[in-house]
């Protein structure tokens, strides 16, 4: 069974304090790994898709990386507006298009 585990479950940072969020996964064959951001009361907002080990993608203060077993979302010099829940999901090879999500990581950035 495909599984995604995110850690830590919650993280508090001071503005400007860089950190990384971890997403470990087990999947029969990885088709893609997704990162989303979710604000309270809203639907997930797409951030990145990673397809193969060694791939990296960046957007503003965020950088996502991928290995064969895990992905990291690095946050550099975060701002209070980066506060949100970050979701990691995998899509497996073999026909099913569904995403398997982790439980998410709630990030709070204090000014």
């Amino acid at each position: 069974e495909d599984q995604v585990t995110q850690s830590p479950e919650a993280l508090r940072l001071q503005e400007g304090e860089s950190s990384s969020l971890n997403c470990s996964y087990t999947v029969s064959g990885l088709r893609g790994l997704f990162w989303y951001r979710q604000d309270p009361g809203k639907g997930p907002e797409f951030l990145f898709t990673l397809y193969s080990a060694g791939e990296e993608k960046e957007k503003e203060r965020l950088k996502a990386t991928l290995t064969k077993k895990e992905s990291f979302l690095h946050i550099t010099a975060p701002k209070p507006e980066d506060s949100a829940t970050y979701l990691c999901a995998v899509q497996a090879e073999g026909g099913s298009e569904k995403l398997v999500f982790g439980k998410g990581m709630k990030l709070t950035v204090n000014p």
């Binding site: 997704f34 797409f46 999901a89 298009e97 569904k98 439980k103």
Partner: protein
């Protein structure tokens, strides 16, 4: 352009009643997904529609849950005889036509969700 829209945004119902939740995907998107997000849990896949193919219903938790997609666009998720454990946020997502296996996975774009509360 317009994103995925869902209605209603909130629904409160009594145990045993039936409810219908609506999803309007992004125009031109051929794939449509329903997920459920319960408090403290990750998003849980329910059902997937792709064009005229038979839907993937493997995530539906019981036969009280069903979904339709009319004309390849709007979808309705129906929950019959609602139970308190059905209380959750129901999210719909859509993705564009696949560009082919070499391109990779298509991104799923989510709507704002419908918060269902069963009393």
């Amino acid at each position: 352009g317009a994103g995925v829209s869902q209605s209603p945004s909130n629904k409160v119902t009594e145990k045993g009643k039936d409810v219908e939740l609506r999803c309007d995907p992004i125009s031109g998107h051929t794939a449509l997904y329903w997920y459920r997000q319960s408090l403290g849990q990750g998003l849980e896949f329910l059902i997937y529609f792709q064009g005229n193919s038979a839907p993937d219903k493997s995530g539906l938790p019981s036969d009280r849950f069903s979904a339709e997609r009319t004309g390849g666009s709007v979808s309705t998720l129906t929950i019959q005889r609602t139970q308190q454990e059905d209380s959750a946020v129901y999210l719909c997502a859509s993705s564009p036509p696949s560009a082919g296996a070499l391109i990779g996975t298509d991104t799923q774009y989510f709507g704002p969700g419908t918060r269902l509360t069963v009393l």
